[in-house]
């Protein structure tokens, strides 16, 4: 059985200070000085990939795992980590993030082309990534590869009989579904959010193993209109700071702002 997990590297936005906000290239934020991280939904997918391939309760699934990413040189370190964790194939498509941030079509077509040459039974990826926030790649991969999509997956496992069981959410309700293969899984707020950590010895063993590079055909797609403009939101409300504290502050705010506020529909 073959399993493909796609992931994207993102800047760690928690480390962006208010004073460092700056538009870059007219359509993005300047984040080149921020540390990277694997998109959290993809990271869950990568850990699921490992768990699905582990022997469990008498089941010995023979799964060939591939980790796949589109990005720059910074991705190599993460692919090596995945190699150390047992991903048999670690594939990099070298491309600058600016080129595909708002082009989920390009990303999906690249993945679909790879799958065309390397058929997969299970394709896993996060439902969205922070920069582009397109929330579209999994759906497009589903259509392009002709594999049905399961959305908002929060847990995955094989049953004793070898069928795949997924746990999905739908606006707070949780369901368990058994699904036929092949399938595309779009990962939501999963029960696990972190990839396990390889030992130093595992990393040393894989240090010089080759990564695979994939060069897709040039594609174009007009489905998602490019942004015309990017604006840093000004969320300031010019807040009134009560000069009082305790009960006096409550009286102050109550008198100035709250009285009658709930009245209108």
């Amino acid at each position: 059985m073959k399993l493909l997990t796609c992931f994207k590297l993102c800047p760690d936005m928690d480390k962006l200070r208010q004073q460092d906000f700056e538009i870059s290239g007219g359509k993005g934020l300047e984040t080149s000085f921020l540390p990277n991280m694997i998109n959290c939904f993809d990271e869950s997918g990568l850990e699921f990939g490992i768990r699905l391939s582990e022997k469990s309760e008498g089941l010995e699934p023979n799964i060939e795992k591939t980790a796949f990413t589109i990005g720059g040189d910074a991705s190599e370190m993460y692919l090596r980590t995945l190699k150390a964790l047992g991903y048999e194939h670690c594939v990099l498509v070298k491309k600058d993030e600016d080129e595909f941030r708002y082009s989920p079509c390009m990303v999906a077509q690249t993945i679909a082309e790879y799958v065309g040459e390397n058929p997969q039974d299970i394709i896993v990826m996060g439902k969205e990534a922070p920069n582009g926030n397109n929330s579209a790649t999994a759906q497009l991969v589903s259509v392009l590869t002709g594999r049905p999509l399961i959305s908002s997956v929060i847990d995955v496992k094989f049953c004793d009989d070898g069928t795949l069981t997924v746990t999905v959410t739908n606006d707070g309700d949780v369901y368990e579904q058994t699904v036929a293969l092949p399938v595309v899984l779009s990962i939501g707020n999963a029960v696990i959010s972190k990839l396990r950590v390889p030992t130093l010895k595992q990393r040393m063993k894989c240090k010089d193993l080759p990564l695979e590079h994939f060069k897709p055909a040039e594609t174009s797609c007009a489905m998602f209109p490019e942004p015309m403009r990017a604006v840093i939101p000004d969320r300031r409300r010019g807040g009134y700071l009560s000069p009082y504290s305790g009960s006096e502050a409550v009286d102050d705010i109550q008198g100035k702002f709250l009285k009658g506020r709930l009245g209108e529909a």
Binding site: K15, R17, D20, F33, L34, M77, S193, K194, L200
Partner: protein, 380 residues
């Protein structure tokens, strides 16, 4: 006991009760354009009494010193009820410096009730930040020594090896060591320190300057807030991957050897290590500290056994190798209970002094037993 009692701009001192949180004191003196200069990672929660009792040190120590350099006066209570007030003077030679019975006692001989610390003028606008990458930790140690011996006094002087650096700098320095300097103080002094360091670094072709914004952003995010700590706790529980640290100090002639042997031995002898690295974060003319940072997967091990399978064996290697090479097993994290196993080796022939202090001030052993000195239960 959480009141700030006095901020004395003339004598450049602040007095606070033992329960005042350092961040609250720092915020209070900042209103006067002053700073305590003390900035350990625990600043938002550490209290003044505890900071003195543990011989704490902060991130800007290379300029401002550790708590031992900052403490001007202190009031403390001994187990017999004696309240002792050591007055705040600039310096005196009136017998041995009895502040050092209080500093670092870790609650084993007395309970600190009031603290007076020195203050400095605060010049955030003249702060300069420098960063450099290089290949070898050993080269970094030599260069750090050169800078300290030359007489420069940055407030921050750090050196990260590639493994420890991975967690901080991989977005611009993958597989590299990183050196970070911050200078501050009055404009001419801060700038002269920065220029002096730049000149030394420029002589070393193995070092490449790093864009300031990268280092500034890293430094601004170095200390975690409560939300980040919660994320970390969740991550540890999910991955069973735990981080711990053991930090030591050593003279320049020994620090490279300690780094090499500890790295070799821990990686070879301890199972399930995922990262083993180190950084130096406090530098002196006669040496530096080494902050070993290591991560391991907890494998087939109950929580109760983790200390015996991973924690203590790692500490044993680091503490014993450090002491053997002439260093100290704890630069600023204190002895507590986890390093009592090596207190004899740490102090050698001077151990009787420590034991006699304990016996003199706490003959009944009621003060934090088992801390600093092992707690022996007599066999009947």
């Amino acid at each position: 006991m959480n009141k700030i009692l006095n901020i004395d701009e003339v004598n450049m001192q602040a007095t606070a009760e033992c329960g005042v949180v350092l961040e609250d004191l720092e915020n209070a003196v900042r209103k006067y354009g002053l700073t305590t200069g003390h900035s350990p990672q625990s600043k938002p929660i550490a209290m003044m009494g505890g900071l003195v009792a543990t011989r704490s040190i902060g991130q800007f120590s290379t300029l401002y010193g550790g708590i031992e350099d900052m403490l001007a006066g202190v009031e403390t209570v001994f187990p017999d009820g004696q309240i002792c007030d050591i007055k705040a003077v600039p310096r005196r030679s009136a017998g041995p410096d009895i502040r050092h019975i209080v500093l670092g006692n870790e609650g084993t001989t007395n309970f600190i009730t009031r603290v007076t610390v020195k203050l400095w003028k605060y010049y955030p606008e003249y702060q300069e930040v420098l960063g450099f990458t290089l290949d070898k930790m050993q080269d970094g140690m030599k260069i750090m020594r050169e800078i300290m011996v030359a007489g420069y006094r940055p407030s921050v002087a750090r050196l990260y090896d590639a493994e420890d650096g991975k967690e901080h700098f991989s977005h611009f320095a993958p597989g590299k060591c990183v050196m970070v300097f911050v200078t501050e103080g009055p404009q001419l002094v801060s700038h002269a320190n920065a220029e002096g360091i730049r000149a030394i670094m420029a002589k070393h072709s193995e070092c490449t300057p790093v864009e300031t914004k990268l280092i500034e952003n890293w430094f601004a995010n170095l200390n975690w807030d409560a939300a980040r700590i919660e994320e970390e706790r969740k991550e540890v529980l999910e991955t069973n991957n735990v981080c711990c640290t053991t930090e030591i100090s050593a003279p320049w002639s020994a620090v490279e050897q300690i780094y090499n042997v500890c790295k070799k031995r821990v990686v070879e002898e301890i199972p399930d290590i995922t990262i083993f690295g180190a950084h130096g974060s406090h530098c002196y003319s006669n040496g530096m500290n080494l902050y070993f940072v290591y991560w391991y997967n907890v494998v087939d091990c109950t929580p109760e056994e983790e200390i015996n399978k991973y924690h203590l064996p790692i500490k044993k290697i680091i503490c014993e190798e450090t002491i053997k090479a002439g260093g100290s097993m704890c630069h600023h994290h204190g002895v507590g209970k986890h390093r009592i196993h090596w207190i004899d080796q740490e102090h050698g022939s001077a151990l009787p002094m420590l034991k006699k202090i304990k016996a003199a001030f706490d003959p009944n052993g009621i003060m934090n037993p088992g801390d600093i000195l092992p707690y022996y239960i007599e066999k009947k």
